[in-house]
Symmetry: none
Subunit: 203 residues, 4 copies
Amino acid sequence: MNETKQKILDVALDLFSQNGFSAVSIRDICKVVDIKESSVYYHFKNKQAILDELLQHFESIATGLMSQLEQALTITQKTIKGNLFEQTCDCFFEKYLMDEYCNKIMRLLSIERLSNNEIQKIYNYWIFDKPLNFQTKVFSLLISIRIIKTADSKYLAVKFYAPIYLFAQRWLFCGTLTDEHKQFFRGNAYEHINNFFKEMEST
Amino acid sequence: MNETKQKILDVALDLFSQNGFSAVSIRDICKVVDIKESSVYYHFKNKQAILDELLQHFESIATGLMSQLEQALTITQKTIKGNLFEQTCDCFFEKYLMDEYCNKIMRLLSIERLSNNEIQKIYNYWIFDKPLNFQTKVFSLLISIRIIKTADSKYLAVKFYAPIYLFAQRWLFCGTLTDEHKQFFRGNAYEHINNFFKEMEST
Amino acid sequence: MNETKQKILDVALDLFSQNGFSAVSIRDICKVVDIKESSVYYHFKNKQAILDELLQHFESIATGLMSQLEQALTITQKTIKGNLFEQTCDCFFEKYLMDEYCNKIMRLLSIERLSNNEIQKIYNYWIFDKPLNFQTKVFSLLISIRIIKTADSKYLAVKFYAPIYLFAQRWLFCGTLTDEHKQFFRGNAYEHINNFFKEMEST
Amino acid sequence: MNETKQKILDVALDLFSQNGFSAVSIRDICKVVDIKESSVYYHFKNKQAILDELLQHFESIATGLMSQLEQALTITQKTIKGNLFEQTCDCFFEKYLMDEYCNKIMRLLSIERLSNNEIQKIYNYWIFDKPLNFQTKVFSLLISIRIIKTADSKYLAVKFYAPIYLFAQRWLFCGTLTDEHKQFFRGNAYEHINNFFKEMEST
DNA sequence: GATGAATGAGTGTTCATTCAT
DNA sequence: TATGAATGAACACTCATTCAT
């Protein structure tokens, strides 16, 4: 892709994720990219088109990652649960929640979702429904191969995912993503996962 | 309080909660209140002052409610846990998360928190820290009177609160608060609470 | 006169003399007087009326002072020139150029005269024409009683008054009137007057 | 320089010199230039920037002119005083006090100086200190080459400059600069200069 | 590919003034 | 006497966008 266009996308995402779409002006973006405002309109039809392209790119990344996770599910049907969780969680945390690009998009979605129905849908899908859906599949699998006893896989998914979501909101989707916040998140999240499995085994 | 001033506050909160503070103009507010823009400045120093007054009012309400909940804790030390939870949860859900005023404020906080440090702090306090803190106290109490066995009350609080937070985000803090969404939330939340206690009792 | 009305006049003059008429708002005045803006309109028809009253009062003061000086001229026809000048200059300096009220008015006139024909006329009359006219009379008198030799009294007046005017502009009509600036003015002005008479005597 | 930008500067100076900086709105300027208000902000950061550019241009002109006058001083050390004065006064009157650009700036400075310290300084420098300073140098020179007898060159400068300053204030810095006013000024000023030299020679 | 120049619509805010109480 | 409440007109300034070059 064109170099300038890519710069615009990068800077726009950076600013959008910090201040929201409507609070960032074309001027703001151009100041950082160091081009004139009219130049933006050579690369994009309008301001909205920048957002659209960012979101589209995110959805293709997220789709890829999620289908990758789901594939891992079928391949590793026979792996022990520890490994399975270790891998998928690691991947979900590092390449999704804390990935620079994805994290910025999600922060942007967080801001804009309340005033934009289109974005609301994307947010709900990628932050609530898809992860919960995936987690439900994981537990269904574990139940089917009798690693864990029969239970409501949907509710198990909520129990497992809700604290992760809460820690993500607390540490990863507030202001700039710092290494310190990342560590807080990892600490809280892995503690939860460990506790979760201990309880699971004890039953 | 003055009638017009109250109208301005009401309308402003309504619009802010839907679109965010900066996306709502004084013009927008005045169109609904049916006054001229300059009249706003008789009642408020500037646009920010409207937000400040709304937030201040929320904080006084939230403070009142939370101290009320905490008082209930001391009084009912001898009540059975079922009652305690029933009351506090009901109150927390209906008079806080789903209360028209508080819910709007929280939606507003959700939108603005990522681009406003001041609001970030308020959000974190009233949505994360204070409720988790309260829930921790509840579990400490239950542990101390041996209704539940010794355990990490802090982690118990997270396990208990995280799904509620997730359901609230999913159903209560997205777009206008409809009766349908309220029912979805209640359904999910009370299902979680019931399950939570069944597990508690079984251990 | 009514106490509040007087306060408004005092404060208005103070602010006008510092910032000019149009740069001072009714709000500014009311903040200092500690009344509501609407109250001003009980005492004055409009903003302009405040200015009018201030100017009118100034003109009555100035008229009084100048006629007093002119009277001194007739009475003291036989006094020696030294005394005459000493008295009139002292009076002109202290009770006119450096009088708190008159000085503020003149600073106000200075600001506004360029954009206001009415004020331009008042300024020209009381700052240029009247003093030069008076001074001309003084020199005419001195010439007529042969204290100084025949000369062009009009030009003498300019020679005498111009440096005083320059020193006044330099020290008395720039920013707030401080004691320091007053002293600078007195120093410069009396030095000039002394020099002026030495030269006069030597011819 | 850009044509529109120059037009804005010209019109702005014209209006500022008549009404003062703050009394002239961007709208006023745009009406005359025949552009939309928003266009101004393509050429200037804000209203203040227009003033700044005007003042800066004036100071470069004034600096040039004054250094030119001072150079004339060294070159013509041997010229007779008549010539020297003739040339410098002519230049100072026509290219400074009555030059269209400089005169407008000085009227603007006159209006704004009382409410703006920055401008007060510029005014004092270019209207009082610099001209008096130059004139002092002229007299020092004349004294040193014994064309005039030993005397206080500083006081001579005041005696020489004060009437010119007074006539300038009376005729050149009041309302629009008309040919009639220019003639009044020239008449008064040259009469003073002639008288001044007659007296000088007679002593 | 990029930009100089312009603009219409909109932003928050200030102002002098009015008028019923 | 004083003020609470309101307003129309103006203000400096920002914004996304257009278009000829």
